[in-house]
Every structure is written in structure tokens, then in C-alpha cells.
């Protein structure tokens, strides 16, 4: 009795064991916000905003009813529809990899949505349809047009970016709407998901008039489960909202390469969001060639941070908005970038992997899709997965698929082709191609254009029909080996893709979307045909009917009016014949 009581006391005093997460402890959520300014080789400047809300709660289990920083609209979506990962991107413009370098995170033109569902979801297609409808209401985008004619199930690309204990590709859905327009009505609800809205912190810079007057504007929402701590025994949910915008050297920069926050956004930073635990501005001051100090930033940064990002060693000037010394001298922070020495324009660095896609051929019957993939690394070869989704009305002929590298045929190590079904499913072509060092790979496939039914044409059919961008996923060899880093300490732009091996880094590129013309009928023809036919019928039938039913009678000649009779009387007197 006594011994048992003592044992019980000891157990209680020892506290909850490792099997318990501590019922009664608060679920903490934290917000980190970050802005990365990177000048591009052509004189333009890219600004990437990232807002990351991390919540130490398991959204899948248990009734969560109190939402603080994590937006309720998205939290309930994840719980109700069994979503494991969600990535939605709305983009206007195209990232020119050849001239601007590898993007930190690229998205194709239009709207792109890819989702991994939990294994407990029984009908994935039904959840996918509901999800796209709900998201179309939240983001004011026409995502309700996502249906089976533009959804595909990739088999090798788009592995989950969050925690996963199995990758059954039946739980993955991917869709692209290349015709989707992105404007202020998509930015407004995106800003409303931020804890501080657009009233404090870095989000005050997000004004639509400046953001849409740019070469590239991409806003995205990423939800995924991540490790709660280094031991990775519990799951936290992470919501990342990213916005990348590239300001053009000629239109926004007025022809000058010097940039500042005021020149880009017509606003400066005045205070921080009180709900953010970290709020920083990074400026990429890495030396492009051997000389240092090519780019000068003012005011003086709080610190300088060195990191290996995308396989290269880069230096960043950091402005920590939460440090009290920053707003001591002036009430607002206007980061300015100035070039101390004029750049030599002939030394533009070429990225290791870039691609291009175009439509070949002539006429409205056949055509050819050509993709060119460049590997500019001098001695390393690496594999790349190419995912192409082509709508059903461009009928691909797979026997015409040719892959040529350096004049010889290059056979892919893995190929998955799913042909289209008219009006039901698009074409899906996935290939794993090995790119030899310093080479250009040309992939061509011919297609035939289909004739649609006249009710299936959109209201502006002569604009053309879009083919979504193809996706290239590759492990590019790094120049400098990357070390394993702590996710919480490193900046947000370096921790999006989980890295397993330091010798190469993962990159996902998109090619240009294509615009093809389909043979279009003349829509005024039904009206013309009805008018013409009715006229012909009326004339023929009417004449025939008249001939058959008209009766003829003899008509008495009229004797004439009073004037004629009087004239005849006078003529009789004169002896002249009457009228």
C-alpha cells in the first residue's frame, strides 16, 4: 500500500513522459516576415516577400477552434478536406531565367494549383473539385474552371515539400490555368490573410499600382507540415505567403540602375508588425566578379550574413527591423542600392540550367512543339524531369517524339505518357532525361489541331488557345557544397526546398506558355444562313402560291375623269379623234 502510493507520487512528480506532448501547454504560433532585394544582371531588381506563419498544432486531428495568426479560412480548409500540402500560385509575366538567373521560386503564367491529399481521403477527385471551388471564392480567381480537362496526376514530379511518410501519386493533383488574369482583386484577399494585413510591417509596401507595373508578378500560398524541432517527432503546420515582383529597368527605373525602396514601391518602411517575431530585409550584395564592393547600400545595415544559396556563396546585407538602433536616426527606412562602378554589360553570368519552348510549323492543321534545354555546366551532367500537359484539342503524335543532344538521339531513362481523351482528359508526358555537360537538348513532338464544336469556343476565339508551361525539375550540381542548416536560423528564402545532399540543389523551372490558333468558324454564319434560306423559301414558295391561288378577272376600262370627258367634248367639236 505505502510502496504503491510512493511509486504513484514519484510517477506524477516525474511529469509527463516522452509519449505525451503535454496537454495543457499552449499551442504557439509565430510569424516571420522577410524581404529579399536582389539586383539582376540586366539592371532590373527582384523583390521577394515571404511571410511565414508557423503553428505548433496538428490541424488534422482534434477540433481546433481558436485561430490566432493562422488564417481561419485556410485552416478549416486543410482540416475539412484532408489536405496534406497545398500550393497555389497566381502569376503575371514570365521569369526570364536566361537573363535573370535561377529564380528562388518560380511559378508559371496564370494560375497553378497542386495539392497532396492525406491517405485517409477516399474520393480524391471530389475533394479536388470542392477545394478548387472554395479557393476560387477566397482568392477571387476563376479556379472553378479546374476540372478533369486540365487536371493531371504526375508520376515523378512534384514530390511533397513537407513531411511525408509515403508518396502514393494517386493522392496528388496538378492543374494549370494559363489564361488566368492576375490583378488587384487577387492581391486584396491575399493581403487580408496576413496577420497584420497591409497596415504594418513589410506589407505596407504592397500597393497594387506599383506591383502590377512590373515585368513579373507572382503571389503564392504554400501550406505544408514541417518538423516542430530538431528531433522531428511532432508536426507543425507552416503557411508561407510569397510575393515576387521584378521591376523593369526602363519603365520603373527610368533608365538608371540605382534602386531604392521608395523608387520601387513609392513607400518606405516605418514600423514593424507587432505580431511578428522576426522582420528582416536582405539585400544581395554578392560580388558578381572578382572585385568586391561593386554594390553599395545605404543606410548602414544591421549585420552582414553569408549563406550558400542555390549552390553558390552569397553575401547579404541585413536590416533587422526589430533592432532598436534601426529607427534611431530617421523614422522611416528607405534602403538604397547604388553601383559604385559601372557594370560591364558583357559579363552576364549564364545560369547552369535554362530552357525555352516554342511552337513550330505553319497553317491551321498541324504544328510542332519544340523544347530546348540548356546545360551550361562545363563538366557535370545531371538528370532533369520534364512534365508536359497539353490540352486534348492538340492531338499529339507520340511516334514523332524525338530527343536530340549534340546531334545524337538521347533516350530518356523513364517515360510516362498518358494520351488524352476528347473532352475528358489532357495529354500527360513525363520524361527523365540525362543532360550531358555543356549541351543543348532539343525535344520535338508534332501535333494536329482539332475542330471544336461551335458551342465550345470561348467568346474571343480568335485570341487563340493557351498551352500551359512545361515543368522542369532538376538537381543542379552546386558550385559550393551546402552544409546542413537549422531551418529556424536560416533566412526563409534558403529553406523552402528541403535539401538532402549538399552537392546539388533542387530547382524547378517553367517554360513559356504557348498560344496556338485553332481553326475557327465564322460565327455569323448561322444568322446568314437563316436569312438567306428564309428569303429563298419566301420568294419561291410565295411565287408558287400566288400562281396557284391567284384568280384573274377582266377589268372594265375606266371611262375617265371629268376633265377627260370635257376634253373629249371639245375634240368632237374640233373633229379630232377622242382620247
Amino acid at each position: 500500500g505505502m510502496a504503491a502510493e510512493l511509486l504513484l507520487l514519484l510517477l506524477v512528480a516525474a511529469g509527463p513522459g516522452p509519449g505525451w506532448a503535454g496537454a495543457g501547454r499552449e499551442r504557439r504560433d509565430a510569424l516571420r516576415e522577410e524581404l529579399l532585394l536582389s539586383p539582376l544582371p540586366t539592371g532590373d531588381v527582384a523583390a521577394t516577400f515571404q511571410f511565414r506563419t508557423r503553428w505548433d498544432a496538428d490541424l488534422q486531428r482534434g477540433a481546433v477552434s481558436h485561430y490566432r495568426l493562422f488564417p481561419k479560412a485556410l485552416g478549416r480548409l486543410v482540416a475539412a478536406l484532408g489536405v496534406r500540402e497545398l500550393h497555389l500560385a497566381l502569376t503575371q509575366g514570365f521569369w526570364r531565367t536566361r537573363y535573370w538567373g535561377q529564380p528562388p521560386l518560380q511559378a508559371p503564367a496564370g494560375a497553378e494549383l497542386w495539392v497532396w491529399f492525406q491517405p485517409t481521403v477516399t474520393d480524391v477527385d471530389k475533394s479536388w473539385k470542392e477545394l478548387s471551388n472554395i479557393l476560387s471564392g477566397i482568392f477571387c480567381a476563376s479556379l472553378n474552371f479546374i476540372d478533369s480537362t486540365n487536371t493531371v496526376i504526375p508520376t515523378a514530379s512534384f514530390k511533397p515539400l513537407g513531411l511525408a511518410n509515403g508518396t502514393d501519386h494517386n493522392l496528388l493533383r496538378y492543374a494549370v490555368l494559363p489564361r488566368e488574369v492576375v490583378c488587384t482583386e487577387n492581391l486584396t484577399p491575399w493581403k487580408k490573410l496576413l496577420p497584420c494585413g497591409s497596415k504594418a510591417g513589410l506589407a505596407v509596401l504592397l500597393k497594387a499600382e506599383r506591383l502590377f507595373h512590373s515585368s513579373y508578378h507572382s503571389q503564392a500560398v504554400h501550406i505544408r507540415p514541417i518538423c516542430r524541432d530538431a528531433s522531428c517527432l511532432a508536426v507543425s503546420w507552416e503557411l508561407r505567403q510569397t510575393l515576387t515582383v521584378v521591376f523593369d529597368f526602363f519603365s520603373s527605373g527610368q533608365g538608371k540602375k540605382d534602386w531604392s525602396l521608395f523608387k520601387m514601391f513609392s513607400r518606405t518602411l516605418t514600423d514593424t508588425c507587432p505580431l511578428a517575431s522576426q522582420s528582416k530585409v536582405y539585400v544581395d550584395i554578392s560580388p558578381k566578379n572578382k572585385e568586391k564592393e561593386l554594390l553599395e547600400v545605404s543606410p548602414t545595415p544591421t549585420s552582414v550574413h553569408e549563406a550558400i544559396v542555390q549552390g553558390e556563396k552569397k553575401t547579404y546585407a541585413v536590416y533587422d527591423l526589430l533592432s532598436p538602433s534601426l529607427f534611431n536616426t530617421s523614422r522611416s527606412l528607405n534602403v538604397q542600392l547604388k553601383w559604385t562602378r559601372p557594370q560591364d554589360s558583357s559579363e552576364m553570368p549564364i545560369p547552369t540550367l535554362h530552357a525555352q519552348r516554342y511552337v513550330g510549323g505553319y497553317g491551321l492543321q498541324t504544328g510542332e512543339i519544340c523544347t530546348l534545354i540548356y546545360n551550361t555546366h562545363p563538366y557535370r551532367a545531371f538528370p532533369v524531369i520534364l512534365l508536359e500537359t497539353v490540352p486534348w484539342y492538340l492531338r499529339l503524335y507520340v511516334h514523332t517524339l524525338t530527343i536530340i543532344t549534340k546531334g545524337k538521339e538521347n533516350k530518356p531513362s523513364y517515360i510516362h505518357y498518358q494520351p488524352a481523351q476528347d473532352r475528358r482528359r489532357p495529354h500527360l508526358l513525363e520524361m527523365l532525361i540525362q543532360l550531358p555537360a555543356n549541351s543543348v537538348t532539343k525535344i520535338t513532338i508534332q501535333f494536329e489541331r482539332a475542330l471544336l464544336k461551335w458551342t465550345e469556343y470561348p467568346p474571343d476565339p480568335n485570341h487563340g488557345f493557351y498551352v500551359g508551361s512545361s515543368v522542369l525539375s532538376a538537381l543542379v550540381p552546386s558550385v559550393t557544397a551546402m552544409k546542413d542548416m537549422d531551418v529556424e536560423q536560416s533566412p526563409l528564402f534558403a529553406s523552402l526546398f528541403p535539401s538532402s545532399d549538399g552537392s546539388s540543389y533542387f530547382v524547378r523551372l517553367y517554360t513559356e506558355p504557348l498560344l496556338v490558333n485553332l481553326p475557327t468558324p465564322d460565327f455569323s454564319m448561322p444568322y446568314n444562313v437563316i436569312c438567306l434560306t428564309c428569303t429563298v423559301v419566301a420568294v419561291c414558295y410565295g411565287s408558287f402560291y400566288n400562281l396557284l391561288t391567284r384568280t384573274f378577272h377582266v377589268e372594265e376600262p375606266s371611262r375617265g375623269g371629268l376633265a377627260k370627258r370635257l376634253a373629249n367634248v371639245i375634240r368632237k367639236f374640233r373633229g379630232v379623234p377622242p382620247l
Partner: protein, 363 residues
């Protein structure tokens, strides 16, 4: 005291909705989008929230590649007033604006997965403002250059709304050529209608902007916007003033209106009954004690079970695994009717040609 009670029951509506539709596509129809957005702006300013506005724009002018000032839509030349603003929510955009979707919004027959922001959730105490603009003719309104809605269809849709008690009072404003033809077939009670021109007349546009290159607004809506800019939530301006808004000298066409179906007299109908969201507020001095412990709620989370071994991230490009991936086994389907019929025909022909005696060799 009697007077106060009478005023309380004057209009009988408890909530306001607005359905604003622009039906034209293409850049040269910029003015129709500007028309709709200026009414949207006025209606929001006078109090109707985004959740009670269904805004349908058939094309995107603000971020159109031809717009020299992206993310803006101007209504006055010299770019004085940006009606697009920074806080706009468009519910139906681009290809979604069709006659079918418009009629479904009005009658409430919407697929179950439609989000709330795209629905007209009005009840029998709602005052609804419906504003339509675009290209029209005698008895029809053109949607997106490919289909039309006729005045008979519109009148029937309003009758369906009346029978389902989806509105208390309805104000219908239309700014198109020959707009009066659209309201001549209405037959449901409590509808008041305004149009920018009579049958046989064209509605004209206001002024072009040489910087943008298109006409910015239509005359009727331009003067209606000027009139509405002076209204604030406490105004007592009534409908008779709205009927006088654009005389023939300014508008060139003759605006028309129809009030015979409406039960109250126009001079008793306030502008804010339809354009604003003026709520009747009842002030009470009673208090209600809140005794639930809010702080205790947060800590009552279900206990989490930690994993026994650490979870890991998936490899992004597992080359070896992909190369050895077996292709998915196609499900076996029994042969279809055509194949069975073909084989039956072949066997029949064989046995007919060569005689039945071969059968025993087969079986």
C-alpha cells in the same frame, strides 16, 4: 412618438444587396467596366459590404496589357478618379460572366459547391440594387459578344425571385442603347426601373482620354456618379431627384423610368434604401454576464501522440526510384460488345463456310 414609430416601419427592409454586371469584353469597351466600378465604389462607400455585393466584370481592363497605367480604371479624363482602387473583390470574372450564371445568381439555383461570395443570399426583407451595362438593343442585352439575354427572360427571372420571396424591393438600373426596352416586360410587384435611353435611341459615351485611348464612361452613369458622390449615409434625397439626373441637354438620349409596379411613391423612397446599407439600430441598456472561462478553452487541446521515430522530408528527385518505377497496371476490363460481336461473326462465318464438322476438332 407616433411619428418615430411610423418612420421605423417606413421601408421594411433589413439588409441590402447589390448585383453589378458589366457584360462587355474587349479593350474598347473600357467604359462599361468603368461604369460598373463607379457604381460599386459608391455602393461600398455608402455602406454595403463586399459580402453583400456580387460584382461581375466580363473582362479585365485594369491589368490589360493595353492599359498604360496598370491596376487602375479611371472615370474622369486627366486621370482624376481611380474607381478601381486598392480594395476591390470581383466575384465573377472574365469567362464566368454568362447569361446562365447571371440567372443562376438571381434565382438562387447555384451548384452546391459555389462559394458564399458568389451567391446572392437575399431574403424577403432584402432591398436589391441591380445595375447592368453593356451593349443592348430593342429587347435584348448582349453578353460578351456571344449570347444575349432578352427582356422576357429577365422579367421571368424577377418573377421567380418574387415567388421565392428573394427580395423586398428591387431597383433595376440599366445603361445601354435602347435600355427602356429591358424593363417594359416586368410584371412582378415592388420593382422600380431606370434606363439611360428610350427605345430607338442610343446611349452615348462621355469623353475619351487621349492618354489611355478609349472613352472612359457613359454619359448617364457619369452624371449618376456625380449625383451619388454628394450622397452620404444620412442623406434624405429621394428617387425623384435620381429621375432628374441626366436631362436631354446633357445626356443626348432621354432617360426613362418605371414606377407603376412599386408600392410606395417615389418621393418617399430614399436613395440610401438601395444604394446604402442603413440599418435600424435598437439601443438597449441591458447587460449580459459572460461567465465562460476563455483562457481555459485554449488549453483544452486534445493530447497529441508523438511519433516513435523521426519523420522525414521526401526526396525531391529520387532518380533511382523513378527509373525502376513499375508502370501502373492497367485494370483489366472484360471485352466490350463490339469485340465480342466481331469474334462471334468471325466464328459463324468460319463454321458456315467450312461446315459444322470441324467443331469437334475445336472442342
Amino acid at each position: 412618438f407616433q411619428d418615430q414609430a411610423e418612420q421605423f416601419f417606413r421601408s421594411g427592409h433589413t439588409n441590402n444587396w447589390a448585383v453589378l454586371v458589366c457584360t462587355s469584353r474587349f479593350w474598347f469597351n473600357y467604359r462599361h467596366v468603368a461604369n460598373t466600378l463607379s457604381v460599386y465604389r459608391s455602393v461600398k462607400r455608402l455602406g454595403i459590404p463586399d459580402s453583400h455585393i456580387v460584382l461581375m466584370l466580363a473582362d479585365d481592363m485594369a491589368c490589360n496589357p493595353r492599359n498604360p497605367k496598370p491596376a487602375t480604371v479611371f472615370s474622369h479624363k486627366n486621370m482624376e478618379l481611380n474607381v478601381y482602387g486598392d480594395d476591390v473583390e470581383v466575384d465573377y470574372r472574365s469567362y464566368e460572366v454568362t447569361v446562365e450564371n447571371f440567372l443562376r445568381v438571381l434565382t438562387g439555383r447555384i451548384p452546391p459547391s459555389t462559394p458564399r461570395s458568389k451567391r446572392l443570399l437575399s431574403d424577403d426583407r432584402s432591398n436589391i440594387l441591380i445595375y447592368m451595362t453593356g451593349h443592348g438593343g430593342n429587347g435584348f442585352l448582349k453578353f460578351q459578344d456571344s449570347e444575349e439575354i432578352t427582356n422576357v427572360e429577365l422579367a421571368d427571372a424577377f418573377e421567380q425571385m418574387w415567388q421565392k420571396r428573394r427580395y423586398n424591393e428591387l431597383l433595376f438600373i440599366i445603361d445601354t442603347c435602347q435600355g427602356a426596352s429591358m424593363y417594359e416586360r416586368f410584371y412582378s410587384p415592388n420593382i422600380m426601373a431606370l434606363a439611360s435611353s428610350q427605345i430607338g435611341e442610343d446611349s452615348l459615351s462621355h469623353q475619351p482620354d487621349l492618354g489611355i485611348g478609349v472613352h472612359l464612361m457613359d454619359r448617364y452613369t457619369f452624371y449618376v456618379l456625380e449625383f451619388l458622390e454628394e450622397i452620404h449615409p444620412a442623406s434624405q434625397t429621394n428617387m425623384n431627384d435620381l429621375f432628374q439626373v441626366c436631362p436631354k441637354s446633357l445626356c443626348v438620349s432621354t432617360p426613362g423610368h418605371r414606377t407603376d409596379l412599386f408600392q410606395r411613391a417615389p418621393q418617399h423612397v430614399l436613395i440610401t434604401d438601395f444604394f446604402g446599407s442603413v440599418r435600424k439600430v435598437e439601443i438597449t441598456k441591458e447587460t449580459l454576464p459572460l461567465d465562460r472561462d476563455v483562457a481555459g478553452l485554449e488549453s483544452r487541446f486534445p493530447e497529441e501522440e508523438l511519433a516513435t521515430e523521426p519523420l522525414k522530408y521526401a526526396e525531391q528527385l529520387p532518380v533511382a526510384q523513378i527509373i525502376h518505377q513499375k508502370p501502373k497496371q492497367k485494370d483489366w476490363h472484360p471485352p466490350g460488345g463490339f469485340i465480342l460481336g466481331l469474334w462471334a461473326l468471325i466464328i459463324m462465318v468460319f463454321f458456315k463456310t467450312y461446315g459444322i464438322k470441324h467443331m469437334k476438332h475445336v472442342f
